[in-house]
């Protein structure tokens, strides 16, 4: 069985854990006193490159990388992500780090607050702003959610590098089919409970989107109220919340090996952001959202009042992919098949989790 590597970004640093054989080895926290809103694993090369988007309350945001599985972290002297002068903007934090497909080695995307997409062609060392999205005429209408106005989801289309789907808080889903020269909203069917029009062209507060592994046109979406699936690469979205105990939530993840399998951590509603029955449960579908089962074996039995944030639920890339999540109260769990185990606890709020099998 391959070793597993887990990265957990927290509000006060980065946690690395390795699974060799049966048990997890959890290292001391790295990058202390920084909020790590995004972590990334670029497994395209011979050696995985790890990323951590770390923001210090005092000293600002940056992206660090590691080519030795987290033993050391580096960054360029000059800011890896910075807004051009003409924008008048300054980077608040990086919310997403997403390597492109296998056919674009060296290309890495970053999603930021304020809402913007950046692209790197040197493996994630330096990034440049996507001008077309920054200049999009809808920008004045994009509105920040409670967590900020951020671009948090980047889904490159496999094998077609000109096609990218993104999602943002207080703006919704947008797509490009020309390599980022133009962007169009793609929210048909996604409801909006905080604007007069319940189905606007854009403005939805999409919380996270995850691609299905078997069909590049199928994706799963956790909305601010509502869970959806598209089978036409975001042109239309269908409600798949039936069978869930709540349609609100922040996170969604899909199994990278098994088509139709996806995970959620439902909350009751936007006005009652607790797990249903105050129980810590992940819900899993095996049939692309037609039905949902709760996975609770190994999770706490007592009352649970915490939440799982948008990037704190993930899967690894092993043949039998495991699932992982972290909570705002600092617990970190992993699941092989249907049994959860506690990997770490007592952490600062968990903001982001990524995992990979090591060759």
């Amino acid at each position: 069985m391959a070793d597993l590597l887990l990265l957990a970004g927290t509000r006060k640093g980065l946690l690395l854990a390795r699974k060799r054989g049966r048990g997890w080895d959890v290292e001391s926290i790295a990058l202390p006193m920084t909020a790590v809103y995004a972590v990334g694993i670029d497994a395209r090369g011979a050696t995985p490159r790890l990323f951590a988007a770390a923001a210090s309350e005092h000293w600002g945001p940056t992206i660090l990388h590691s080519d030795d599985l987290g033993a050391t972290w580096s960054e360029p002297d000059r800011a890896p992500v910075a807004f051009p002068e003409r924008t008048g903007a300054a980077l608040a934090r990086v919310w997403q780090i997403q390597p492109a497909g296998e056919d674009q080695p060296g290309v890495v995307y970053a999603g930021t607050e304020p809402t913007a997409l950046f692209r790197s062609e040197d493996g994630g060392l330096t990034f440049e702003l996507n001008e077309a999205l920054w200049d999009h005429p809808h920008r004045p209408q994009w509105a920040p959610g409670f967590g900020g106005q951020a671009l948090h989801t980047i889904v490159p289309y496999p094998g077609e590098p000109d096609r990218i789907l993104i999602a943002m808080s207080g703006g919704g889903v947008y797509r490009t089919q020309d390599g980022g020269r133009s962007w169009a909203p793609s929210n048909t069917g996604i409801k909006c409970t905080f604007l007069p029009d319940p189905y606007p062209e854009y403005g939805q507060c999409v919380h996270k989107v995850a691609p299905d592994s078997g069909d590049p046109n199928r994706l799963y979406l956790q909305n601010h109220n509502g869970v959806y699936r598209t089978d036409d690469w975001g042109a239309t979205w269908s409600d798949i919340a039936r069978g869930l105990p709540g349609e609100f939530g922040f996170a969604v993840a899909a199994d990278p090996r098994r088509s139709g399998r996806a995970y959620l951590f439902p909350l009751v509603s936007d006005g009652f952001r607790f797990p249903p029955d105050y129980r810590c449960r992940i819900y899993r579908t095996e049939d692309a959202g037609a039905s949902w089962d709760d996975l609770s074996a190994g999770l706490p039995d007592d009352s649970f009042y915490s939440v799982v944030l948008r990037d704190a639920l993930t899967t690894d890339n092993a043949d039998q992919a495991g699932a992982y999540f972290g909570t705002r109260t600092g617990e970190l769990y992993g699941c092989a098949d249907r049994q959860w185990e506690r990997i770490a606890g007592g952490l600062p709020d968990v903001l982001s989790v990524r995992a990979a099998a090591l060759a």
């Binding site: 005092h58 002297d77 800011a79 300054a90």
Partner: protein
């Protein structure tokens, strides 16, 4: 032969930032008033930071964002006076001055 020493400015940084300056907590910068500046004995604080950005970019970006604004939880003192009382980064800096960088009590 007379030698004229270059007037210098000292930037003092907290130990938390020394790692971005090769372990230094005091960085000496040459005072370089611009040719267009009628006051040849001083330079604006902005220009001190511009020079810091050229010499020690990894340090400077911890103090200012890409717009050149001092980060929200960073305090800057010029010879012991908060630069907010001196016109912000337009404050004039003379030879021998010390620009001290401190983490604000807020944040973290």
């Amino acid at each position: 032969m007379n030698t004229v020493s270059t007037p210098m400015v000292t930037v003092a940084v907290p130990s938390a930032l020394a790692g971005y300056a090769g372990g230094r907590t005091h960085i000496e910068l040459a005072l370089k008033p611009s040719d267009s500046d009628s006051d040849s004995a001083h330079m604006p604080l902005d220009a001190v930071f511009d020079q810091l950005a050229a010499d020690v970019p990894a340090l400077e970006r911890r103090i200012r964002d890409e717009r050149g604004a001092i980060r929200g939880h960073v305090n800057v003192y010029l010879d012991g006076v908060d630069i907010r009382e001196l016109g912000g980064t337009a404050a004039r800096v003379g030879a021998g001055a010390t620009v001290q960088i401190l983490a604000a009590i807020s944040g973290g």
